[in-house]
Each structure stands twice: as structure tokens, then as C-alpha cells.
Amino acid sequence: MRILLVDNADSFTRNLEHLLLATVSGADVGVIPYVGLAEADPADFDLVVISPGPGRPEDYPAYARVFEVGRPVLGVCLGMQIINQWRGGRTAMLPGCIHGRAEVIDWNGQRRQVARYHSLHVTEAGRGLAVLARNDAGVIMALGSRTHGLLGYQFHPESFMTPEGGIFVVHALDFLGLR
């Protein structure tokens, strides 16, 4: 499987790359910086992954061409907010923002520990996006659309504080019809 991982100048992108390589058998992961996105053709890939990163989703307008191509997209943290923004959703500052903390959330009928790093959160899901998970305080932790091939995780499956990060990658492949 050919995966394009777009790096939004984050310090966790390689953790995500290694998680993808370790979880997806036979994966070929190409990592490009956000500024190099114009030179890549998302149509050449089976999956596009949008990394976490600093700033707000509106700071990253170049993703429009990724969505227009229509390949399956997985977004992590800022990546999820970018997907949501593209579908007309809303993002706002998270009161008492949270960075470097682990917490347990409900996930497909089980309790799973995940790592959180975010100053912003999705306050209104975009068109056609279903909220797939919230934390105990009601903050959206995952959203997506099978129809549109979009999935976002607000938490960080690549963190060492998410002990079973691989299951979220496997889930993404299933959800996006890649397995």
C-alpha cells in the first residue's frame, strides 16, 4: 500500500510514520513537508495521512487539492481539524487546552487509553461527517465519513502514551475501505 504522509512541521510525524510502517504490512510511506504538497500527486497514493502540527486548520489551505482528488484521507489532531474544516465544520479554542496527557475513552465498546495534545477542538462536525467518539467530557475524539473516505482522530495513536496505537491504524484501514 502506498501511503503519503504530509508533515505539517510537527515533532511527532516520524512517530506516525513508524507506526504506519510497523502496522500496515508492506506499506510504502512517503513523507513530504506541507510546503512540498504542491509537487506531490495524491492520486498516486492509496491513502493520504495528514499529520498533527501547530496552528489552526485555516493556516493550511493547500490540502484542498488533496480532498479534491478524492483518495482516502486519515487526519491526526490538526489533521482531523483540517478534514472537518474542508467539510464546513467549526474549530474553536479548547478551554484549558491539553498537551501530553493520557486519558481513557470509549472506543468501539471498549475503554482505550489515548494521548492528547491539542489547544483547539472541533465544535461542529462538517457536512456528512459522523462523530465516532467523544471523551468523557464530550470533546470529539474521532469523526469521519465512509462515503467520502475521510477519518480523523483528535488523539495521537503514534504517542507512547497510546499503548495500542496500532489498533487505530487498523481501524482506519477498515473504515476507509483499504483492508
Binding site: 512541521a9 510537527d10 515533532s11 511527532f12 510525524t13 516520524r14 512517530n15 510514520e17 513508524h18 510502517l21 510497523a22 502540527g53 501547530p54 496552528g55 489552526r56 490538526l78 479554542m93 484549558g96 487546552c97 491539553i98 498537551h99 501530553g100 496527557r101 493520557a102 494521548a115 495534545y117 491539542h118 489547544s119 483547539l120 495521537h156 504517542s159 507512547f160 502514551m161
Partner: protein, 435 residues
């Protein structure tokens, strides 16, 4: 012809040899030595090193490339030792700054002879040119015959002292913390390390005595003495940046500090440190960052975290750290790893590039060697390096001693507490005479 020599000696004999050579550095730059001392048994302990008799040098400019550093280190035999500045790290990470470059961006040296001490076997091993080695051997034999008294370090000179002058005094430092908090809430950074520079005029200061006195009373795992032009770098860091031994990679980032007051229970205080949600978040974030930074040159699936939230005591401070390890890819060397991960995430914040850009806006000073690294490269897969915190630079020409201290700011940081933590870290150089 290069040769080698090994002998069993007591550790204090090796340290005394290092001390003698350090003292001579100030008398004559062609004599003396650069040294790296360490504390046996400490989690971040490193192999002590002496580099004597100056060989080739590489003084970094903005144009120096990692490839040139690689050629310098690996192109000829012998260990290379010196520093790489934080400012050079800014260039590597593409962070531009308008601040003047008034200090070499790095300085590495090779030596006529080197000596290392293996704590496990009690063996000193020397290598280098026969004549230079001979000199070292004779000195070692003389010291062994007449071991120094326990109080060999020089007393500190109590001459006049002006200052300190802080680049970010209390009010400005706390304002910097508040600005950092605003940047965190806006999502620009997740964590940021903010520092202040201290400047003290001490024309009478004997830097060698200063270094040796501190070493004898407040030892730490990475004590480095390095002569660079008219400056003497006195680095007393407790923190390992990156070690490579064969294929094994180890980083030991420190986050979380508590001052241990007289009579206080260290165990109770350590529990307070490990139980703090704020300190936990601070360290965990940097552990994830270090995992990222070493992953570029480590085997997929090899990067691990162990001993998370361990605590050790140094400089009357309790510090929390973790072990982040990995397996170096067979087609990579230690400098690939070093330059990809440099500067250490514990002194930048996260994400690294945006944190470094904000740091440059908030700090009026240059960090120079501070928050860079003291680096010892013995071979392509044999390296150890510190994060150059608790580090001072003494200019022999101007008599000015500069040092820096800082703290990691996270969303629930309190400006006044962060300033206090910064002052606690600066205490080693602010009041070096204190017991």
C-alpha cells in the same frame, strides 16, 4: 605512529590528572587539555575523557555543514571533542535570527593524545602519538606515586563581583511566560523552554579553579571543560542528549525539577515530582519528541521508552527523566543521528521548529553554547553528548562570566514558579561558594 597504553589506576588518580591538565590550560593554550568528567553510578554517567596536546580543529561558521563535521571526525584517527552551539541548531532547523553571532557556532578538536577511564575495570586507556602519550604516562605515574589530598580543588577566589545582569529579569521573564502561555493556548506550540542569560563581571576569576571547585562539590554526569579562543566553556550538565554504542541509541531527556532544601526528605519530594500532572505532561511531551527525532535513523519498531519518570538528585535538585532508546540503522552513523535530532527537545519545546522560532522572539539574548551540546565522537558508531545546560562561558579577555538558566513552560505553568525554578537552576553559578 599512533599507539595505545592501558593501566589500572584509581579513579581519583585519573581525575587528578584531568585537574592538573585543566589548570595548565589557562597558563598556556598549547599545554593543558579539554576534559569530560562524570559521576560513576549515575544513570547518565559517561566515560571520562581527557584530550591533551592540540591537534586539528574545526571552528564552525554559518557555512559549516554536517558533512564537513563528519569529515573532520571520521576522516582521521582519534576522538573529536568540543561543543556544537544551540545557534548552529537554529540554522539546521531553518530558524532565522537577527541576533549577532558573537561566538563560534561550534568548535571541535582532535588531540595528540587522549585518555579515557573505564569505571567497570578501573582501567585508564591512552592513545595517540608516542611522544604526547609518553608525557601523559609520566604524569599519571607521578600522580600515582603522590596521590593528591582529598581537597585538591582550588578554593574559589572571593574577588569583586558585579551583577548579575539578567537579560530577562523577573518582571520580563514572567511576562515572557505569560506570552508563551498565550501561544500555547492559540496552538502555536505545545511546550516551550524559556531562558534568561546572567552576566557577571569577575575579572579575578580563575576559570580552571571555578570548574574544579564546582566539580569537587557539585558533581554531575557531564562536566566538560573546553578552551575556545579566549573563552573557557564550563559545562556542568546533568543531562545526556544522545549516546551511540554500536547499534544502541540512548537519549535521557530531563523534565521536572524540584529544589531539595536542607533536611527535606528526598523520597517524599520525588513522589511529589512523579505525582505532578504538570511535570508528567512536560516530560511525556518531550519523550514523544525525542522518539520522533531519533526515529529518522533508527530501525522501524526499535524505538522504546523505559524507566519513564525516574528521578535522580543533582545540584541539590531532584530531576525527572526517561530512557528513550532505539537501534541505529546499519547504514547510518552517530552524526546522522546527532544532527537530525539537534538541538535537544528538552531545551526547545514542541513542535521543535515553531518553539525555536518563538524562543528567538521572546529571548533578547543568544543562547550560544547553552542548550547546545558537549559532544565526544570516538567513531562512526561511538558517541556521547550532553544537553549543555548548567553551562557557563568565561571570557579571559573581558573577565565576563555568562551563564543561562530556563524552564519548560506548559499550559498550566505559573509565571512566578517558573521564574523561581529558573533561579534555582542558576544557583550553581550565582552562589558557587555556597555549601
Amino acid at each position: 605512529m599512533p599507539s595505545t597504553f592501558s593501566a589500572c589506576v584509581e579513579r581519583r588518580v585519573f581525575d587528578a590528572l584531568a585537574a592538573e591538565l585543566v589548570r595548565e590550560t589557562d597558563n598556556c593554550l598549547d599545554q593543558g587539555a579539554d576534559v569530560l568528567l562524570s559521576v560513576p553510578g549515575h544513570p547518565a554517567a559517561t566515560t571520562p575523557f581527557i584530550g591533551a596536546g592540540r591537534g586539528d580543529e574545526l571552528v564552525f561558521s554559518a557555512e559549516t555543514t554536517p558533512e564537513e563535521v563528519r569529515e573532520f571526525c571520521f576522516g582521521s584517527p582519534g576522538a573529536a571533542f568540543g561543543f556544537v552551539s544551540y545557534t548552529y541548531g537554529m540554522l539546521l532547523r531553518g530558524v532565522t535570527s537577527a541576533k549577532p553571532l558573537d561566538f563560534p557556532l561550534g568548535h571541535l578538536r582532535k588531540y595528540a593524545a587522549t585518555a579515557g577511564y573505564d569505571e567497570a575495570t578501573g582501567t585508564v586507556t591512552m592513545s595517540g602519538e608516542a611522544r604526547a602519550m609518553d608525557g601523559l604516562r609520566k604524569r599519571l605515574a607521578r600522580i600515582e606515586r603522590n596521590p593528591p589530598d582529598a581537597d585538591w580543588p582550588l578554593p574559589l577566589s572571593a574577588g569583586p563581583q558585579e551583577g548579575p545582569e539578567l537579560s530577562l529579569p523577573r518582571k520580563e521573564y514572567e511576562a515572557g511566560v505569560r506570552e508563551t502561555l498565550a501561544r500555547i493556548r492559540a496552538g502555536d506550540v505545545y511546550q516551550l523552554n524559556l531562558s534568561t542569560r546572567f552576566r557577571v563581571k569577575r575579572p579575578e576569576l580563575d576559570p580552571a579553579g571555578f570548574f574544579l571547585n564546582l566539580w569537587s562539590r557539585r558533581p554531575a554526569p557531564f562536566y566538560a571543560w573546553f578552551a575556545s579562543g579566549t573563552r573557557r566553556v564550563v559545562s556542568t550538565s546533568p543531562e545526556r542528549f544522545l549516546r551511540v554504542r554500536g547499534k544502541e541509541v540512548l537519549s535521557q531527556p530531563i523534565k521536572g525539577t524540584l529544589r531539595l532544601e536542607d533536611g527535606e526528605n528526598a523520597q517524599g519530594l520525588a513522589a511529589r515530582l512523579t505525582g505532578s500532572a504538570k511535570e508528567d505532561a512536560e516530560l511525556s511531551m518531550i519523550v514523544d519528541l525525542i522518539r520522533n527525532d531519533i526515529s529518522a535513523h533508527c530501525e522501524v519498531g526499535s524505538v522504546r521508552v523505559a524507566a519513564h519518570k525516574s528521578v535522580f538528585q543533582v545540584d541539590r535538585l531532584l530531576q525527572m527523566y526517561s530512557d528513550v532508546s532505539g537501534v541505529l540503522r546499519t547504514d547510518r552513523d552517530c552524526l546522522d543521528l546527532f544532527f537530525e535530532a539537534f538541538p535537544g527537545g528538552s531545551v526547545t519545546g514542541c513542535p521543535k521548529a515553531s518553539a525555536m522560532a518563538v524562543i528567538d522572539q521572546l529571548e533578547p539574548h543568544s543562547r550560544g553554547v547553552y542548550c547546545g551540546s558537549m559532544l565526544l565522537v570516538r567513531g562512526e558508531r561511538d558517541m556521547d553528548s550532553s544537553v549543555a545546560i548548567r553551562t557557563a562561558v568565561c571570557d579571559m579577555q573581558t573577565g565576563i562570566l555568562e551563564f543561562w538558566a530556563g524552564s519548560g513552560i506548559v499550559v498550566d505553568s505559573d509565571p512566578a514558579s517558573e521564574y523561581q525554578e529558573t533561579m534555582a537552576k542558576a544557583d550553581k553559578f550565582l552562589t558557587p561558594e555556597a555549601p
